[in-house]
């Protein structure tokens, strides 16, 4: 059974717990069963130390404690038997030392096998959890959008990395706000989380998360009695006994946290859990940044298209009639060109004094416009240079230009009237 603490797209991840977790649960059951068997052999006596070790996931310690307990009892049982029956040979198990002793002997032999299996699991756990974290990172890298990444991260963390619960929070410089979560396990009450979504939790110095925030490093809390734990959400609402937290670092800043624990069980979260979460959150951060960048590359393109599209539309609207293919001959084309040009620039020659120019002045202006000097114009028109000068003066006045360049410019229509800001403005 799974329950997502937050509405929105629920993740389609196969609800199969991580293989190591499955195996560990099976081993824990067997150790518990061995405890029950031993307990029966010892007239219902229970060993609380063994049971609490199983609960926190310390199976190695549980088997060792259970072994010591049974061995102690075997000594006691046989010491009691020793009075009644004479000691047998040192090597062979003495006959008739009681049913209880024989039962304990069987249990101790089984515990030796179980202990070896537990050790195989415990010593090899690192490699399989590292492989799980790595596989989770690959899956994060394959997400198509940042929205999908954010929505599915917590479920990935739970199912791929074998945690019981995972929470993603957003962080700013002063607070962290729970955002997304995924809880697993039967009969988990996830309703409390809804009340915490987006609720700001201060990142003051006393809170462990503040240290994660400033050091850009993950942290493990083996026991939530730790005074740095922010109890209202973690203990009072979340009922966590032990958890790990890692920063989500985006563009060099802590932008979020991942919190994870092994609830609903009491399994302790340790250093390996911390590193699994750290690998995961690094993968998440990189995948997130990559997706945001990729989305930006796309956005750049569509903005470019939009801009070009609107520019094109603008051009089409401005010059609907200009279609050179429809214009018959070259002279006609020239004429239309000029008219089009004149219209487009607010009728520069026509509307701003051009019509007031005399024919001679127009001739001078045309020569001016091709860059002719006064001497060249005089030469061309077979007049004196001073005559040209006075023509030019008249032209400037009639066009309202302050200099020759402006006069030419207005005539050529490079700049509409008043195109540049006045220097005094």
């Amino acid at each position: 059974m799974k329950s997502a603490a937050r509405g929105g797209p629920i993740v389609a991840v196969a609800p199969v717990p991580a293989a190591w977790r499955h195996h560990e649960d099976a081993l824990a059951e067997r150790v518990t069963a061995m405890h029950s068997t031993a307990s029966q052999a010892l007239a219902g006596e229970r060993n609380a130390a063994v049971l609490s070790r199983i609960a926190v996931g310390d199976l190695t310690g549980a088997v060792a404690a259970l072994t010591a307990w049974c061995a102690d009892h075997l000594i006691a049982v046989r010491a009691g038997d020793g009075e009644a029956a004479p000691a047998g040979g040192a090597e062979a198990a003495p006959a008739g030392d009681g049913e209880a002793a024989e039962e304990l002997r069987v249990i101790l032999r089984e515990l030796r096998t179980l202990g070896s299996e537990v050790a195989d699991h415990a010593f090899g756990l690192y490699a399989s959890r590292l492989a799980d974290a790595s596989a989770a990172v690959r899956r994060l890298g394959a997400m198509a959008t940042s929205a999908q990444l954010v929505d599915q991260a917590c479920a990935e963390l739970v199912y791929r990395c074998g945690f019981g619960r995972a929470v993603l929070s957003r962080v700013d410089s002063e607070t962290w706000r729970p955002w997304m979560a995924h809880f697993t396990g039967a009969a988990v009450d996830a309703s409390w989380f809804a009340e915490w979504v987006d609720r700001p939790i201060p990142l003051d110095d006393l809170v462990l998360e503040a240290q994660v925030f400033t050091e850009h490093r993950p942290a493990a809390v083996p026991d939530t009695c730790d005074p740095r734990v922010y109890r209202p959400i973690i203990v009072d609402a979340g009922r966590s006994t032990s958890y790990v937290v890692a920063p989500v670092i985006v563009a060099g800043e802590v932008a979020g946290f991942f919190h994870a624990d092994h609830a609903p069980g009491q399994r302790r979260s340790g250093l390996v859990d911390r590193e699994v979460l750290w690998t995961f959150s690094q993968g998440f951060s990189l995948a997130y940044e990559r997706l945001v960048l990729a989305e930006r590359v796309q956005a750049q393109r569509s903005r470019l298209h939009a801009a070009l599209g609107s520019a094109e539309a603008l051009i089409a609207r401005r010059a609907p009639a200009l279609d050179l293919a429809l214009i018959p001959d070259q002279d006609e084309r020239l004429r239309i060109y000029d008219e089009q040009h004149i219209c487009a620039h607010g009728g520069v020659p026509g509307g701003s004094g051009y019509e007031n120019l005399t024919d001679r002045e127009r001739e001078v202006l045309e020569l001016l416009a091709v860059g002719a000097t006064n001497a060249q114009i005089a030469d061309q028109l077979v007049v004196s240079e001073s005559t040209v000068k006075s023509h030019v003066r008249h032209i400037l006045r009639k066009l309202g230009a302050v200099n020759r360049a402006q006069a030419i410019s207005r005539y050529l229509g490079i700049a509409p009237m008043g195109g540049l800001p006045d220097s005094r403005a």
Binding site: Q282, L286, L293, V297, V370, A415, L420, P421
Partner: protein, 383 residues
Amino acid sequence: MPLPAVDEARSANLDERLSALGARLRQLLASRPDEIAVRALFDELGELPLSLAEAAADRLVGPAQAGDIIRAVAGWQSELHDAVVDAQARSFGRINDGLASLAGTVSSAELVERAPALLCEVCEFDRAMISEVHGSTWRPAAVHVAAGAADELNVALVAAIRTVEIPLTSSLIETEMLRRRASVLIDGTAMTRHTSGSLAALSHSRAYVAAPIVVADRVAGFLHADAYSSSRPLTAADRVALQAFADLFGLLYERAAMAERLLTQQQAIHAALSSAASGVAELGPRVGPLVRAELRAAEVGADADARREGGWPEAGMLTSREWEILGLLATGATNSQIAAALVVSESTVKSHVKRILHKLPAANRAEAVYRYTQLSGNRSRAS
């Protein structure tokens, strides 16, 4: 209640055995624990409780002493377990922290350059190599020798590695990695059967681990590593560690490449748009008058044409600032207007204009405007 006497000789023997076990334990815990040795001791300790219980019952050891030892053994086992898990978590942490230290690296080329040395450092390999897949071949891009760098063989390896290019044939382990996207641990017979001959001849590797680097859902390269100098046996944990490194590295690389692509695209768009904008600025107003100007140019421009033959200036001769000023000048702007538009002093504009007139060459501003219409025509034809 009188107990039968404990067998003194066996008891002394047990003491000896226990102190030997204790010494081994302390030695193992003193340094970074060797997992195989730890496991052997752990299993030996696991044998003790039952045999001690029997020995105590048979009066071979005192029951109190046996009980103490049994409880101590349980503690020792936990200590060994904790030491191993702690060491494993620390190696895990080194990989994470190492890759976190790369997160600030911006260029993808730099990432490739730095990967082998970092891999040696965080996963304790003697040599590491990063390669790139190119079509149907793969070739080493960078190699790092952390231990035994002075070794002649390694010197030769480093010198020659960049020249190696290996076809992805079907028997090759790299081809298998490309297909299955899984890391591998290669030793023994697999070395000769699935390793490239040229690489084996260069590296003399006896065993190595390798992992694919997945970038944008494609195997873009590989990481190879071994423990050539120390001859430390490589294990599945080494393979998994390399895999974890490669997977995070792939994302790091992809992010860097994506950031580079974003920047390149941004620059390309900017360049394209500004050249389009200046192209448009040059083209638009020029169209009509140019047609008319050419009608006259043949008549009046003879003098200018003569100068042009002596070397018509290319648009490139003007600096972009001068080009900008010429554009403004051509709109008829006065020096003070240009100065205001460009936020420079009028005297700067004057000296720019002087240089422009000299370069074009133009006798005056009016001719400069004419040259501008000519030049911008040249420029748009050239582009």
